[in-house]
């Protein structure tokens, strides 16, 4: 390698044709400019800056984080301070009825139940937050499945093309054409769950099984348009193997739409979970989710409206904000929106 260094000076010759003063000046300018560009250059950083300029998306992110944090930490804190959990039924028989928000057992003002209690006297705040845990978990797992399976499946189908692609995408079409409610019912019938936890696992599985389909289609489309670009040919010409081309060269280039769609998958999966739980196919008592809370509240809407209002509001707020974040990300990652 020593010969490389010797030739270095020769190679720089064309640049040395300019006068020395000029060269120095140019160097200063380039240093200033590159210094600036390098710090703010990454495409992700650009997108992040644009996202932060979008007020609605920032508001959405803050609310989502707040709700998620309180769902994670809230139930434990409530248990510590007041002793209420999502399934603790008070021993005092006078309390075995639905108390309105901020009221004590005798109708006086009280901080004990900011969202009131349900028919069995359970604290609705504790139930909403615990329900949030399940809803978030379902959403996260389904999104993870769609990221892992959907992205790799779509990328492989798109890159290999031809008959492999045809076959793989027909499988997706078939699964797509089945309503997921039917898939879930079939799964529940085939695998009778003994424990609430097994039941929950089934729900995760069922939602995961259908959540990756759209992702696979989106990624396939992206890869189809990317794979004919010259950098893929260049990578092949340097001997990079097919799996490495797919996972190191192509997928990072398709990540923008993937992130946007993943963010929009979370609310849609949450809604599906709520819908299934509402129908009684999802989370079973004593466990709660936002969907099962809403189902319960809907039955008593006329008499105890707070039983529906609070879980419903929380869920609606979460869904709204997730969609704000998703829309914000879509705009931020869209190269055509770039104005600066």
């Amino acid at each position: 390698m020593a010969d490389y260094d010797e030739h270095k000076s020769n190679l720089n010759e064309p640049e040395l044709h300019v006068g020395p003063e000029y060269a120095v000046a140019e160097r200063d300018v380039s240093e200033v400019v590159t210094g600036e560009i390098v710090t703010g250059s990454s495409l992700w950083r650009d997108a992040w800056r644009r996202l932060l300029r979008n007020k609605l998306a920032v508001f959405g992110m803050v609310v989502v984080v707040l709700i998620a944090l309180s769902a994670v930490a809230g139930p434990a804190i409530i248990k510590q301070t007041t002793g209420f959990t999502y399934d603790s039924i008070p021993k005092d028989t006078r309390l075995l009825r639905s108390i309105p928000p901020f009221r004590g057992p005798n109708g006086e003002f009280s901080w004990k139940h900011p969202m009131g209690t349900d028919i069995a006297g359970r604290d609705i705040l504790a139930r909403v937050l615990s329900g949030g845990q399940i809803s978030l978990m379902v959403a996260l797992i389904a999104t993870l499945v769609s990221l892992v399976i959907g992205v790799s499946y779509g990328a492989i189908a798109g890159y290999l093309g031809g008959r492999v692609d045809d076959l793989m995408m027909r499988v997706v079409d078939v699964l797509y054409s089945l309503p997921y409610v039917i898939i879930v019912i079939v799964l529940l019938a085939l695998l009778p769950a003994k424990t609430p936890t097994a039941q929950l696992a089934q729900l995760f599985f069922a939602l995961g099984a259908v959540s990756w389909l759209t992702m696979a289609r989106i990624v396939r489309g992206q890869i189809l348009s990317l794979k004919n670009q010259e950098f893929v040919l260049a990578a092949r010409a340097t001997g990079v193997s097919t799996p490495k081309i797919i996972f190191r060269h192509l997928i990072p280039n398709a990540l923008g739409p993937v992130i946007v769609y993943a963010t929009l998958t979370i609310p849609s999966v949450m809604l599906s979970e709520a819908f299934l739980s509402f129908l009684g196919l999802g989370v079973r008592p004593p466990r709660v989710s936002w969907g099962s809370l809403a189902a319960e509240g809907a039955q008593n809407l006329a008499v105890y409206p707070w039983q529906l209002i609070f879980p419903g509001l929380t869920m609606a707020l979460m869904l709204f904000c997730l969609n704000f974040v998703g829309d914000g990300l879509r705009d931020a990652l869209d190269p055509q929106m770039r104005r600066d």
Partner: protein, 335 residues
Amino acid sequence: MNDQNGNLLSVTDLRVHFQSADGTVKAVDGINFEVRRGETLGIVGESGSGKTVANLALMKLIPTPPGKIVSGSINFNGADILKLSPAELRDLRGKRIAMIFQDPMTSLNPFMRVSKQLMEVTRLHLGHSKAEARAHAIKMLEHVGIPDAADRVDSYPHEFSGGMRQRVMIAMALSCKPELLIADEPTTALDVTIQAQILELIKELKAEIGTSVILVTHDLGVVAGMTDHLIVMYAGKIFEQASTKELFARPGNPYTRGLLRSVPDPTHNAETLYQIPGQPPDLAHLPTGCPFAPRCERAEEICTREFPPFVELTPNHHSLCHFANEVYTESSAKS
């Protein structure tokens, strides 16, 4: 290992066909050529003459389907590339044969830092550790004349100008010191001053590493100062093959003559620039006779009827034309 003639690469009867809705497109149809060690071979021709396809075939990079290498052998250092296993091919690509592409704007992965792309090659082929590969990447960038290489190595491709990106591509292609470098129109997308720099760089590095080079271009000016031998391609066939000097001085084919006349001559105050009339033929529906006949100023009745022979003018000069000898004599008389 060594071919008795000192040939690094010899291509025999290579045919690459593409299936299209319109029929079989014979992009490369029975070409033969050799590249000697340390020599630069130029391949010239209009767009769609099969230059790029021929070079992709050398590394077996033809997209299949729709493309297919129908026949032929590519003898590289004693082994037929077309018979290698996928793993052997991957080992060959980038390490022993490297390629530079036409458009440096799109041939680097926009989402990957330059350092990572450079390191990928040497980690793959030379078994470098991360630190070694990084040091090597910086050294290569310095070597191709990128200032402040150590600082710029972690930039993204869009932070480089076109010429700089082509330098990066050259650094990547040469980082394993390949035996053969295929440069597919390496300067077409660059402006003229940068072109000269890039060509000079390729020339210097070639002399230094001892690589053989195949330079594909449609620019005869580029080819003149760079190559030892020349191939003129038209409609997937080799029309003329000679040493560069000989071909420029005494072209033995009307097509080559047309190409040479098409280069604008600034000392000549011509009202209009010369052009070869007509369009290159549709490769899916080639005429029975000479594919150049409809555009040829010398065409006679036999040209549309019979496919021309590959005439040997001198042992190192061949031309595909019914009137090769006549054209050659005319050119010789003029020079």
